[in-house]
Structure formats: structure tokens, C-alpha cells
């Protein structure tokens, strides 16, 4: 009991020294809990939305093959008769048809797209009673007749749309314009989609290209009829060939599309855990210093009869208290973080309501458990060291017990692990197959990281000496004092630097992979793309016939190539076996536009009538070679015998594993209505006319803002930008870990200043000026930060290079080291060191000389 009281008193007496460790726990736990609350809330929100917007039973076209359905730009439909059949089913109150298309682009009078830029869909649909559950007409009228449209209020607001404005809807069957007759407002959460309502007949004729078709049938159950029962009855009523789902089944399917939420959750949690790991170093340092400062006190306790376990436990109790306080505050902060994140999402066009804020019991339990567990684990080693303090320590003047042998054991273990990690990375870089290579890479990263952490103290003395020769000596005796201080406790410097190392190693390795990605793609484009221009939609929507016509009509083009992805095709092998394989139909000029390397035959021949190419892997697996005959069948069409004219190399990085054939050839066995629209179109300018052709093509495509026309330079720039955005996002998430690491530097310095109070007093007494004192602390901080940066960047470069070597199997053939980023990070670390030292240096400068000397 007395020991517990001692722990409590110690904890509160030293709460100032625990603040930064506590903050590290708070930040990490807040991030964990914020992630959980945010994703839970999103899930609740979408569940509600899906439930509100679906009927008791929904009938859809049989979509067994929907996943592989190549895009014709028109949704699958069912005939209007199904509505009546379903409505007549026993237990059905009524049924009505839904006509929905998401394959539309809507532009305002300036030809600007009003589609969301977030990846959320643009939904064009008819107004039904389902919509009445989630939407309210807030101004104007619902659309009537072919020339009216209602638009959701969020979209209207974002694009400044008003009643009477004209909108042009672009879809595969053609364009049409409509005036805004009404504005509807989401009463539930708006997931960020742009929603447009048309008269039912308009959707059917203009978007589904069939005045008698619907995309879904909604069936409302009569009183007392369960969804399950109704489903059975509807199934019986509509017969085979349709998918019939209860509300639960239907929403489950929609929820499956929200799988990205789960991915997001785990990614965010991953970054939170990295931050927590970084926080461990902070906690270890804090407790080590507390124990060192308290050596005499602990010795006294041992001398008067406390046993090791009791001393040990008294330190751990403090850790539990710290973890408990930190994680409780963290849980609360996490809820705040989630609310802030929701506000952020709202500013990006979603409307999330805090009414749906979902805090399950898991959130606080995970938060507190994680916070306490990590803190206690981190304090375990210092606590054990406290237990080992001998009663004699009470009598000694001062004395931080040095543990030489453990240091050696640690260094050896670290070197062994680092060596093992290096070996694993080497294996990963030399791997022939991706899966075992990835495992080796993960192992190598883990081993080298742990190894570096262990040899950290050893490296600290080497690296700090090296750095001081280059940097510190410039500052003369103050620099030397800073060097000595940084070297004084290599374990502390090592741990502080290691915390920074983790974040920076990840930054460095990812920047290497990102830069290599861009460089590899650049080289691949230069090597294999002969086309001058590419027309595509960034969301992957196909090119409508009208737009394709516009491309073809552009002036000064030597040729235009269409690229149609057929998706899965049934292939009958010479032996009679039937397998499914992906195929692409393209104009014969595709052979010039994109160079696909072959191991046998020529690609130009593969686009001739009645010919096809197969990829090397497929050919090897089924023993095929040039001259063999295979039959291709598409869905319900007829089989067509084709001759293999080329075998494409597996080294080909673009479209490596598909069959290529000419569009004319494809037309012989793909039914006309099933022929997919082109995904991409390529253009080649007439000799010397590149600029004019590019200009002309852009002009022709002006009425089709949903498509982007790019030349090779644009394409590369876009790729670079995409990779850059992805990296920035990851850097943003790593910022948390780096902030915690910076707190660690501040923590180490602040505690060191307290620990060295008397020294500082002495130095001030014999003539060290405040400015020199502050500079000394700043230099120490910079050296620790640079040490962490050097380790992190070194480790990261090796990881990145190993990852690139491994990914070379997947086409990432060029190793590019982004020196600009690396150098920026290095000098950034120096700035971080300066910033981290601000407060500790200020406080040291303000110390009263006399009281510093007098401090016992």
C-alpha cells in the first residue's frame, strides 16, 4: 500500500515530465479511436441510406455475369411486363419500375461537367416513392415531359445551378438537354453523388434506349408479409432469369461496394499503430530518465527493505496511470477527431450528420487497452532496471548504473538482426516470384528495423561523431559541448533518433517506389507507345459513338485506333477443352500505337481477319503456338474458329495477359448489341502535324467534356500527378508518426535540461552566455534529429530499392531515387531539430543560475 502511495505521489510529483509521453499516447489513441468512430459512423450512415432507398423486394436483371460485363454504356434492363407480374405476386401491395443509369455525364450551359470529382457517381433516375423517403422537393416542380430535370440541392449549390438553367445529359444512346424544373434536397446523408431526376419515359428512351424497359422493379409488401415470404412469391410470379432480393440482401450487396471503408479503416489504423510504436520510444526514454534520476531514492527504498518486485511494480503502476490518463483523453480526442473529419468530408461535398455519430463499445475498450498496454510494455525495461538498483545506490553520490554487458548483448543482437534483414532484402531483390519475394521483403524490413533500433546506441556514437566533425565543429566549444551531450547517453540518443527514423524510413522508401513507378512508366511509354494522343475517361467510362465519331473526324490524323475490352471470352482449345480468357479487340493500327513484344509471330498479323494473339503464359499452359487454331465464343453468341498469329511476351507490361484480335474479327462472333464501346482511342498525327492535330482533336472533343484528350507529355504529367497525390496522402498520414517523433526529441531535450540543471548552472556561472547555452541545446537537438534522419533515410533507401527490384517483376523496371526529396527531408530534419529545441532551450536559458547551482 505504501508503495502504491509512493507511486501515486511520484506520478503526480513528476507529472510535468510525463506530459509529452502522455501526449504521444493521447495522439496515437485519438487516431485509433477517431478512425473507428469515423468508419463506424460512415457505415451507419450508408446502412441507413441503403435501407431507406430500397424496397421490401427488388427484382433486377440476372447479373450473374455483371462483374465481367464489358461496358456498352447502357445498363442491363428488364421488360416492363415484369413490373406487372411482380405486382400480381401474392403478398405484394404494389410494384413499380425503377429506371436508373449511372453511365451519364451531365454538363451545364458552359459545357462544364457537374459530376462529382470525388469518385462518387452521377445518378440519373426516375422519381418514385422510394425517393420520397430520402429526398424532399425544396423548390420548383418535379420534372414532367421530355425537357425537364430535377437536380439535388448539393450539386446545384456547388455549380451555381438555378431553376430554368439548361443541363445537357450525355449518354451512350445520345445527348439531350433539359431545363431544371425543380431542386430536391437530401433528407438523409448525401453520399456525395450528383442525382438527377427525369420523367420515367425520358430515362427509358434516352438512357436505356428502350421505352419498355426498367433497370429494377421495386415490390412493396402488403401488411404482415415478411420480405422473405414476398421474395418467394415474387420469384414464382416473375419466373426464371431475374435476380430477386429482399431489402436485406439488396443492401448487403450495396454495402459490399463500400468495402473501401474497411480498407480505409485498416490503413488508418496501420498508420495509428506506427505512431503508437514511435510513442513507445518516447515512453521508454521518459521512464529511463525518471528511474535514473530516482536512483538514490530507489536505493533507499531497497535499503529499508523493499524487494525488487515491489520497486519494479511501483514503476509499472506509474506507467499504468500514464497509459490510463493518456488513453482516456485520447478516446475523447478521437471522437472529436472523427467529428472534425466529418466536417472535412462535408467540405468535399458529402453531407454527413453528427446525428449518426456511432461510438460502439469497441472504440473506448480498444483505445484504453491499447494505450495502457503499450505504455506498460514500454515502461517494462526501465522498470526492470529500477528493480536492479542496489541498496548501495542510496549511499553513492550519484550514479546511473551502467549496464555494459547488456549493451554488448544488445549490439550483437542488433547486428545479427540487421544482417539477417539485409540478407532477406537481398533475397527479395533477387526473387523470381512475387509472393515469396514480398514475404522476404516484409521480413527484411522488419528485421532491419528492429536491428537498427537495437544497434541505435552504437550507431549514435559513430554517427554523432561523424556529424560533429562536419557540422558541430563550426560552432567551436559550444558545438563540442553539444556533441558530448548527445554522446553522453547513446541509448537515449539512439532511442530518440530511432523514433524519428521509423517515420522517415517509410517516407524515403515510399518516395523511392513512387519515383521508380513514374520513371518506369515514362520509359515504358517512350518505348512502347507510338500513338501521339490518347482519348479516355478518367472514371473508366467508355467512349460513346458520337464522341468516337468526333475523334475520327478530327483533321490531320494519320490514323485513329479503337480499343475495345471484351472481357472474358470462352476459348475452345485444339483439344476441345473450353477455358475462359480475357480478350481485347482493337483496330489493326493498334499494333503501331502500342508496341506489344512478341515471342513468336508479329502483332500486325494478329489483327488480320480470322487471326488472334495469345499471351505467353496462356500459350505455355495450353501448349499453343503460332498456326494453331482456337475457337472463340462470346456469351450467347456462336463460336468462331481463329488462327493464332502471334504469341505476346510476358515481359510486355501493358496488357500483358490478354488475347488481341481485330475489331472486324470480333464482329464475326460478338453480337452487335453486345459489342462493347471503346475504352480508349488512340490517334497518330500526320508527319510533322502533331501540334495542329492535337489542337484540332481538342476542338472536336470540346462538346464531350467527360473525355480527356492527352498527348504523351500530358499523359506522363498526369501519371506523375497521380503518384504524387498518392504519396502526399501517405506522407500526410505518416505526419502523425513524425509529429510524435518530434515530441520525442522535445521530450528528451526537456528532460535532459532538467537532469543537467546543475551543469547548466555551473556553465552559466563560469561565463556561458544565455545565447551560447541555447545554441548548445539547439545543436544537440539538431544532431539528434540529423542522426534519426540519416538512419531513416539510409534504411528507407535500401527498403525502397529492394521493393523496386522486387516490383520489377510487375513492370517497375527503373530504379529512380528522388534525391530532391531525400535532401529536403534531411535538411527538414535539421529544421525539426531547431524547432524541437525551442522550448527546452528557452527554459534552460531562463534558469536561475543560483538555484541551478543549489539544486540537490
Amino acid at each position: 500500500m505504501t508503495l502504491l502511495r509512493t507511486s501515486l505521489r511520484n506520478f503526480f510529483a513528476h507529472k510535468g515530465r510525463m506530459v509529452l509521453s502522455g501526449l504521444a499516447v493521447v495522439l496515437s489513441v485519438a487516431f485509433v479511436c477517431g478512425t473507428l468512430v469515423f468508419t463506424d459512423t460512415m457505415t451507419t450512415t450508408f446502412d441507413k441510406l441503403f435501407a431507406d432507398s430500397s424496397a421490401n423486394v427488388t427484382v433486377s436483371p440476372d447479373d450473374e455475369e455483371d462483374d465481367e460485363r464489358p461496358s456498352t454504356g447502357i445498363p442491363a434492363t428488364l421488360p416492363a411486363s415484369v413490373v406487372e407480374e411482380a405486382g400480381r405476386a401474392e403478398g405484394a401491395e404494389r410494384a413499380f419500375g425503377l429506371a436508373v443509369s449511372m453511365a451519364v455525364t451531365v454538363v451545364d450551359s458552359d459545357n462544364k461537367s457537374i459530376s462529382p470529382t470525388t469518385g462518387a457517381p452521377t445518378i440519373a433516375t426516375n422519381w418514385t416513392e422510394l425517393d420520397e423517403r430520402t429526398m424532399k422537393l425544396t423548390s420548383g416542380e418535379l420534372p414532367e415531359g421530355p425537357a425537364e430535370v430535377a437536380v439535388d440541392a448539393d450539386t446545384a449549390k456547388k455549380h451555381g445551378l438555378e431553376l430554368g438553367d439548361e443541363l445537357r445529359t450525355i449518354a451512350a444512346p445520345g445527348d439531350f438537354t433539359a431545363k431544371i424544373s425543380g431542386i430536391v434536397t437530401f433528407e438523409a446523408t448525401n453520399p456525395g453523388a450528383a442525382v438527377l431526376y427525369f420523367d420515367t419515359a425520358v430515362v427509358q428512351e434516352r438512357l436505356l434506349a428502350d421505352p419498355e424497359a426498367f433497370t429494377h422493379v421495386a415490390v412493396v409488401a402488403a401488411d404482415g408479409v415478411s420480405d422473405e415470404l414476398l421474395k418467394k412469391q415474387v420469384l414464382a410470379a416473375v419466373g426464371q432469369g431475374y435476380a430477386v432480393q429482399t431489402q436485406a440482401e439488396f443492401t448487403d450487396e450495396l454495402k459490399a461496394d463500400m468495402g473501401f471503408l474497411d480498407v480505409m479503416k485498416w490503413v488508418l489504423l496501420g498508420f495509428a499503430l506506427i505512431a503508437l510504436l514511435v510513442g513507445v520510444f518516447l515512453i521508454v526514454n521518459t521512464f529511463s530518465m525518471l528511474v535514473a534520476q530516482r536512483t538514490r531514492e530507489i536505493g533507499l527504498m531497497r535499503a529499508i527493505g523493499a524487494d525488487r518486485r515491489q520497486v519494479n511494480r511501483s514503476v509499472l503502476v506509474e506507467a499504468v496511470l500514464l497509459g490510463l490518463f493518456g488513453s482516456l483523453v485520447g478516446v475523447a480526442a478521437g471522437v472529436g477527431l472523427a467529428v472534425g473529419l466529418m466536417a472535412l468530408m462535408n467540405s468535399f461535398g458529402m453531407s454527413l450528420s453528427t446525428d449518426d455519430l456511432t461510438i460502439t463499445w469497441v472504440t473506448p475498450v480498444v483505445g484504453v487497452a491499447l494505450g495502457v498496454l503499450v505504455t506498460v510494455l514500454a515502461a517494462y525495461l526501465p522498470a526492470r532496471r529500477a528493480g536492479r538498483v542496489s541498496p548501495m545506490a542510496a549511499l553513492r553520490d550519484s550514479g546511473v548504473p551502467q549496464d555494459g554487458s547488456a549493451g554488448r548483448v544488445r549490439a550483437v543482437a542488433g547486428l545479427v538482426l540487421t544482417g539477417g534483414g539485409a540478407l532477406a532484402l537481398l533475397f527479395a531483390a533477387r526473387a523470381d516470384e512475387a509472393a515469396p519475394g514480398a514475404l522476404m521483403l516484409a521480413l527484411g524490413v522488419l528485421l532491419s528495423l528492429v536491428g537498427f533500433v537495437l544497434v541505435g546506441p552504437l550507431l549514435a556514437s559513430v554517427v554523432v561523431r561523424g556529424l560533429s566533425v562536419v557540422v558541430l565543429r563550426l560552432w567551436g566549444p559550444v558545438g563540442r559541448l553539444a556533441e558530448r551531450n548527445a554522446l553522453r547517453n547513446p541509448r537515449r540518443t539512439g532511442a530518440t533518433g530511432a523514433a524519428l527514423m521509423i517515420g522517415l524510413a517509410l517516407v524515403a522508401s515510399l518516395s523511392v517506389v513512387g519515383a521508380s513507378m513514374v520513371a518506369s512508366a515514362d520509359r515504358e511509354l517512350d518505348r512502347s507507345v507510338g500513338a501521339d494522343f490518347i482519348v479516355s475517361n478518367d472514371m473508366g467510362a467508355p467512349i460513346t459513338p458520337k464522341a468516337a465519331e468526333a475523334v475520327r473526324s478530327a483533321p490531320r490524323l494519320a490514323h485513329v485506333t479503337e480499343y475495345r475490352a471484351l472481357g472474358g471470352v470462352e476459348v475452345t482449345l485444339p483439344g476441345g477443352e473450353e477455358v475462359r480468357h480475357d480478350a481485347v479487340a482493337a483496330s489493326p493500327t493498334y499494333a503501331e500505337d502500342v508496341r506489344v513484344e512478341t515471342v513468336e509471330g508479329r502483332m500486325a498479323d494478329a489483327y488480320r481477319q480470322g487471326a488472334v494473339s495469345v499471351d505467353e503464359a496462356f500459350a505455355d499452359k495450353h501448349g499453343l503456338s503460332v498456326g494453331d487454331e482456337v475457337s472463340l465464343r462470346y456469351r450467347d453468341g456462336d463460336a468462331e474458329p481463329l488462327r493464332i498469329a502471334a504469341v505476346t511476351s510476358k515481359e510486355a507490361s501493358l496488357d500483358g495477359g490478354v488475347m488481341f484480335l481485330g475489331i472486324r474479327t470480333a464482329e464475326t462472333f460478338v453480337p452487335e448489341a453486345r459489342m462493347p464501346l471503346p475504352m480508349l482511342m488512340f490517334g497518330k498525327a500526320e508527319e510533322g502535324q502533331e501540334a495542329a492535330a492535337y489542337q484540332g482533336l481538342k476542338e472536336r472533343m470540346e462538346p464531350f467534356p467527360q473525355y480527356q484528350v492527352r498527348d504523351q507529355a500530358d499523359y506522363k504529367a498526369q501519371l506523375r500527378e497521380q503518384v504524387g497525390q498518392l504519396l502526399n496522402m501517405v506522407y500526410g498520414l505518416l505526419a502523425l508518426a513524425i509529429i510524435v517523433a518530434i515530441l520525442g526529441v522535445v521530450n528528451t531535450l526537456a528532460l535532459s535540461v532538467v537532469e543537467r540543471t546543475r551543469e547548466i548552472g555551473l556553465m552559466r556561472a563560469i561565463g556561458l552566455s544565455r545565447r551560447q547555452l541555447r545554441r548548445m541545446i539547439r545543436l544537440e537537438s539538431v544532431v539528434i534529429a540529423l542522426f534519426g534522419a540519416l538512419l531513416g533515410l539510409g534504411l528507407g533507401l535500401v527498403w525502397g530499392a529492394a521493393a523496386q527490384q522486387l516490383l520489377a517483376l510487375e513492370g517497375l523496371r527503373v530504379l529512380e531515387i528522388p534525391w530532391a526529396t531525400i535532401v529536403t527531408v534531411f535538411f527538414g530534419a535539421a529544421v525539426v531539430g531547431l524547432v524541437a529545441a525551442l522550448v527546452p532551450a528557452f527554459r534552460a536559458g531562463r534558469m536561475n543560475v543560483l538555484s541551478a547551482i543549489a539544486t540537490e
Binding site: 567551436g476 566549444p477 559550444v478 563540442r480 559541448l481 558530448r484 551531450n485 554522446l487 553522453r488 546543475r758 551543469e759 555551473l762 556553465m763 552559466r764 556561472a765 563560469i766 561565463g767 556561458l768 552566455s769 544565455r770 551560447q772 543560475v849 543560483l850 547551482i853
Partner: protein, 262 residues
């Protein structure tokens, strides 16, 4: 007692003034109003150049406070203090720091040395901080005077308590300050090591012409001085020239009785 200065020796700096430091009407008070505690009460004192002065007095007499004020470590409440020709009571921290660095040497009771620096680095630290190259010849002389030649590369943790204090003495001497202040410099040493250190201080006055002011409560230590100042209740109450341990002890006993009677 006519003047505090009887004989003037040439100090290390070789300046003409016979007074190394002077305090006039110095008051040091802590707190205010009812809780005010006066540590120094209108103290006038002059420290002779090239002499070894000891300040004695019971605990709480203000002897340490007086030394701290004279050395520019502590600010006075009122009154003036000069070190050499410089009036330090009006100086700001920056100039005060520089004064301590260039003109004053310190020897504390304990924790005199930076653990990260070896003996030689500790000795030259004030000059390093000032960016001044140490005078090699003088340094060698100081080092050999305190008998540290073989131990210059040792870290403080590798030196005995007496050796550590000798390093501190060497540091104080090395930059040839106008005045050296010692705050119970032998308080933590056994009598033999203490005697050694006091011997060096005495010799540095006799042979090197150094000015030293030392706070002590040990009559034996005080006996090494040329002059002993007695403080009680923040006032200078007596002084003694050419003291011996016995005479100092007797005088203190007298104060004690006096104190009790009054």
C-alpha cells in the same frame, strides 16, 4: 580598524588599484512586507587585491549571499558593488555573464566539473567559451602548481574528490581572473585532501599574486587566509588579520556566547 587593506601585493592583472572588489551599503532582502527576510543589511566591504580573504559566520548569517552578490551571481536589493573598476550592480545579464567569464573564477563546494569533459577541457572551458586561446606557459604552470600533469586526460568520474577540486582550482586560476570566489571549496573533502587544496589556494596568492575570497565555516580552512571577515545576521561584525585556527575558533566561540547572552 582603519582600512581593510594593509598591504598591497601586485595582482595577477597587474593593475594599480589595491581593491579587487568593493561593496557599499549592500542590502539583499527576500520577500516583502511582513515576510521580508534581510540576508544582507547595509554591508560595506573591500576585498584587497592579491590577498586571501575568508568570510565566516553561522548558517543564515548571509556569508554565501554576500559572496554570490560580489561575484555577480545574485542581484542586490540596493547598494553598489564594484569588481575592479566596474560597477556590476547595474549590469544586465549579458554583460554580467561576460564579466564572470573574463574577470571571475569560481570554485564550488561540489559539482564543479562538467562530466562530459576531461580535466584539461574543464580547465580551459571558460577560455573556450570566450573564444580565447589559453596562454600555454601559464596553463602549464597552473597545472603543475596544482599537481595534475598526469591526469589531464581523465574524466571527472575517474578522479578522486580532492583531484576534482584541484581541477576546479586550476580552472579558476587558468584564465587569470581578477578575483576567485570559493564557496566552501573544501567542504566535501577529508582533511588531508582539503589541506592540499587550501595549500594550492595559498600558494596561488603568494606565488601567482591571485586574489581569493572564500566562504567557509571551518576555522582550519579560514586559518589559510590573510584576513577573516565575520558575518552575523547579515552584518559585518568583526574581522581578524593573520588568523590561526585557534584564534578563529576562539573568536567564533566568543560570538556564540555573545549571541546567546544577547
Amino acid at each position: 580598524m582603519t582600512t581593510a587593506v594593509t598591504e598591497s601585493r601586485t595582482g595577477g592583472g597587474g593593475e594599480s588599484t589595491a581593491v579587487a572588489a568593493r561593496a557599499r551599503q549592500v542590502v539583499k532582502a527576500y520577500g516583502s512586507g511582513e515576510t521580508e527576510v534581510v540576508a544582507l543589511d547595509r554591508v560595506d566591504v573591500e576585498i584587497a587585491r592579491g590577498a586571501f580573504t575568508a568570510i565566516m559566520g553561522p548558517s543564515g548569517s548571509g556569508k554565501s549571499t554576500l559572496m554570490h552578490c560580489l561575484a555577480g551571481l545574485d542581484a542586490v536589493t540596493s547598494g553598489q558593488i564594484w569588481v575592479g573598476d566596474t560597477e556590476i550592480t547595474s549590469l544586465k545579464d549579458k554583460k554580467l555573464t561576460r564579466l564572470r567569464r573574463d574577470k571571475i573564477g569560481f570554485i564550488f563546494q561540489a559539482f564543479n566539473l562538467l562530466p562530459t569533459l576531461n580535466a584539461l577541457e574543464n580547465i580551459t572551458l571558460p577560455m573556450d567559451i570566450a573564444g580565447v586561446r589559453p596562454d600555454r606557459e601559464w596553463l602549464d604552470r597552473v597545472v603543475s602548481t596544482v599537481g595534475l600533469s598526469g591526469r589531464l586526460k581523465h574524466r571527472p568520474s575517474e578522479l578522486s574528490g580532492g583531484q576534482q577540486q584541484r581541477v576546479a582550482v586550476a580552472r579558476a586560476l587558468a584564465s587569470r581572473p581578477e578575483i576567485i570566489f570559493g564557496d566552501e571549496p573544501t567542504g566535501n573533502l577529508d582533511s588531508r585532501a582539503g589541506a592540499e587544496v587550501l595549500g594550492f589556494l595559498r600558494r596561488s596568492v603568494d606565488e601567482l599574486g591571485q586574489t581569493i575570497v572564500m566562504v567557509t565555516h571551518d576555522p582550519v580552512a579560514a586559518a589559510y587566509a590573510d584576513r577573516v571577515l565575520y558575518l552575523a545576521d547579515g552584518r559585518l561584525v568583526d574581522e581578524m588579520w593573520r588568523p590561526t585556527a585557534e584564534s578563529v575558533l576562539d573568536r567564533m566561540k566568543a560570538f556564540d556566547t555573545f549571541g546567546r547572552v544577547s
